[in-house]
Amino acid sequence: MPPLGRLMVRTALFWLLFGFTLGGLVLANKGLGWWPFLWRFRASHAHILLVGWTVQFSIGVAFWILPRLTGGSRGREGLVRLGYVALNGGVALAFLYDLMVASAEPAVMRFLPLAGGLLYVAALALFISQLWPRVLPLPEVALSSSPGSNSSDSGSSP
């Protein structure tokens, strides 16, 4: 697994643990009603688990496992890294919004979801632009990649 793929998968696992813990607290509060302030984290819990965990994990694995381009390249890693920063920035802003919604200035609170949404769009555009050319039919893969580079179902790292 390439270093950038490892970074994305590990960050996704961090969000998985954080999102399940946050969701667990919200669920426990639903059962007991002891900490009503936790209810505000419902939306960011969904963002963390849908975008930070599910989307990031699947993109990290796709970046690792999709057929490589000519010469064994996985595309422009700088752009994927930029997408990584944007995606995680968007998730962090979604959490920050729920954290600050009761106390911060209304102008700031309008800015946070807008910035988070733009970061999501930028991240996904960057990921799609880099993954799209790697969705190749098998004969092209065989001709263009180095030997053994597309072994994707054996549990070994391509």
């Binding site: 590990r10 998985l16 426990a28 059962g31 007991l32 009603g33 849908l50 599910t54 549990g155």
Partner: protein, 152 residues
């Protein structure tokens, strides 16, 4: 695919079916206004889909396909894999039962089932992270020998 991964993936498919049934109920209820108890199943539906189906499918495929932990234990400690499987599915099942029952006017003490469900699901996430973390490695890192790392 090794047997444990098949359990994860087949159970994920069953939760997907359950999610489709609940989703159908929600849509029928939306059209005909049958019962508020059915409308209360909206969060149950989301979690059937995202925990029972999506997360569990990812867990199963990752445990199967990620680089081997060691040559002797390619999928790590399978007992922990079973702990993950049981805590995830029992946690979700308790949520479905308690949320549905509470929505239908069940006793308030059922809220404790939601707490147990929450704990089980957090345990499941933690066990998955523990199992898969050492298997996130590059080609240069050869599978470790079990006797030099951690005990099975």
């Amino acid at each position: 695919m090794y047997p444990q991964a098949r359990f994860f993936i087949r159970t994920a498919l069953l939760w997907l079916l359950a999610a489709a049934i609940v989703s159908g109920l929600l849509l029928v209820n939306q059209a005909f206004g049958l019962s508020p108890a059915i409308a209360a199943l909206q969060p149950t539906f989301y979690h059937l889909l995202m925990v029972g189906w999506a997360a569990q499918l990812i867990f199963g495929v990752a445990l199967w396909m990620f680089p081997a932990y060691t040559k002797e234990q390619p999928h790590g400690d399978e007992r922990l894999g079973w702990l993950l499987y049981v805590s995830l599915n029992l946690g979700l099942l308790l949520r479905v039962i308690a949320e549905g029952w509470l929505g239908a006017g069940g006793p308030i003490e059922l809220g404790w089932l939601l707490v147990v469900s929450a704990v089980l699901q957090v345990v499941a996430a933690a066990v998955f992270v523990y199992l898969i973390w050492p298997r996130i490695k590059g080609r240069a890192g050869p599978p470790r020998r079990a006797d030099t790392t951690r005990k099975a």
